[in-house]
Symmetry: C2
Subunit: 311 residues, 2 copies
């Protein structure tokens, strides 16, 4: 069966797998991402690890479709990337680099969130759909847009970077990117905690999180789901901004389905209950609304999508 | 030479033309749009008018590529439209309808702003580019997104409807669509006048428009370009919201170029000077910025783009 290697290159771990054309995973393993020395070891490590799991004979076999890779940063369609901040690398063509290390095997690369989007479309919550917006709510907010079954990489590899869409031009606090009012400031794990701190400071209502020195995003979400009124109000504020961004995405690209992944999405149906009515109100131009669901592949989405790039 | 008929179906006029594969226009004419009786006459009128200008023999010739049509409303890829508000029509397949009236000639349809986007890409300000966001600033704000030389119609035909992206969640006035803070409320011709009225009311600074009972969008733009400080401040406020929407579009779809058309765009370079610095600030993720230019085909963009659908 036609198969390939999928690579999900993250800031601390590289996930690798041998994936068949039908989505079967024959082998799956991980190696650490060695970011020291400007990431000099990362691609040689990946190449060596692939050679350990895939014989030279198989690499050259017509059944071997190549290597697909998701990387943490903006990637252009040909594999070129201006910078991969978390890996301390810049101005390289990651596809050419890995291909060179593997004897010119076909390598395709895309952004990690784009890979996850493609993975969810192929084998996850977006199965059967053809256009999809994947949104990952983690430490930051990322996204991947798929239209006509194809990832939209964007001219500068920047497509899908919805964490830095401005959703609140009145915001006074600065985002890491230097601007004010980015979606990430409200809907990421960090953002959800910050909005909760503000909500607590702005009222005297009792809350199980009041007076705690620190609390996590999970604490806020658990409190909200358990009926804590202040936490519920706070999470709804965060999700209002997410719904606004999603409505703006619907006005521009009008995908069939939104798939929400990342650590925050573990809060499940409660999040969808916050998002749906606001999204529906903000998309008045069509009676039929896009579907909104929680991701189903979680940590494996990137691996599947990376594989799909070459399969 | 391979040729076709392009149709730009507007609320008051239908523009038609015979267009060759190289963009040459062999004939160009207009007929009124008869919207009475739920638009019953519109498509028969168009078909009759095409038959007057194109012989039966030519319609059946292999050199005749068919009819491409831009219509004022959301259209799905197969020609189906939920409703065309300005034409008082709903729940029809406009492509099938016109094809039926022309003896099964190939007919393709898209939204009028999408057609204009395609026209600018083919023969106008976007010539040589492959992905483009067209923004039309007229009575309302419309848009068309082209990726990989193809219009993105969207699942519900709603893609590119950026006039109803929310750019100011704090807005207290209602948009026609029922929401608050849509781009159209600031950057359309009507919006530019309304923002100017507000700006005048909020300050005592002298302005050539102060005390006038009514003024037009052109009055505001002319005053701003002539150095009227209040008008300049007001237009910059409007363009700030446009730049914010454009930055959000860049974060999602990352097109090569933005082309700004519609009546408002006649203000030319002055508008670009307002937009560019704000857009650059709001897109910090890439050093290379999208090009931003004024449309060049103006009223003919829709005709060219409609033709391109079938050529």
């Amino acid at each position: 069966m036609r198969r390939c290697v999928g690579v999900d290159l993250g800031g601390t771990t590289v996930k690798l797998g041998i994936v068949g054309v039908n989505g079967a995973v024959f082998d799956k393993w991980e190696i650490p991402t060695r970011t020291e020395n400007n990431g000099l070891n990362i691609f040689p490590d990946i190449a060596a690890s692939i050679r350990e799991h895939v014989s030279e004979e198989e690499l050259k076999s017509p059944e071997f479709a190549g290597v697909g890779m998701g990387v943490p940063g903006p990637v252009q369609e040909d594999g070129y990337t201006e910078k991969l901040v978390n890996l301390h690398m810049k101005d390289i063509n990651v596809a050419d680099l890995l291909s060179g290390l593997l004897g010119k095997v076909e390598v395709k690369a895309c952004n990690d969130a784009d890979a996850a989007a493609l993975g969810e479309l192929w084998m996850g919550a977006g199965k059967g759909y053809h256009s999809l917006m994947f949104i990952t709510l983690g430490t930051g907010v990322g996204g991947g847009l798929v239209l006509d079954d194809k990832v939209v990489p964007g001219t500068r590899g920047m497509a899908g970077e919805i964490g830095h869409m401005t959703v609140n031009p009145e915001e006074y606090e600065k985002c890491n990117c230097g601007n004010h009012g980015c979606l990430e400031q409200y809907a990421s794990a960090t953002g959800i905690v910050n909005v909760m701190k503000r909500t607590l400071a702005e009222c005297d209502d009792p809350s199980c999180l009041r007076g705690l020195e620190t609390f996590s995003c999970k604490d806020v979400l658990d409190a909200a789901k358990a009926g804590d009124i202040v936490a519920d109000r706070s999470v709804r504020t965060s999700m209002d901004y997410l719904a606004l961004a999603m409505a703006n995405i619907a006005m521009l690209a009008d995908p069939e389905i939104f798939v929400i992944g990342g650590g925050v999405s573990r809060a499940g149906q409660y999040l969808l209950d916050c998002i749906e009515p606001v999204f529906a109100r903000l998309t008045p131009l069509s009676e039929k609304k896009a579907d909104i669901v929680i991701a189903s592949l979680m940590n494996d989405a990137g691996l599947y999508g990376a594989a799909k790039l070459v399969l």
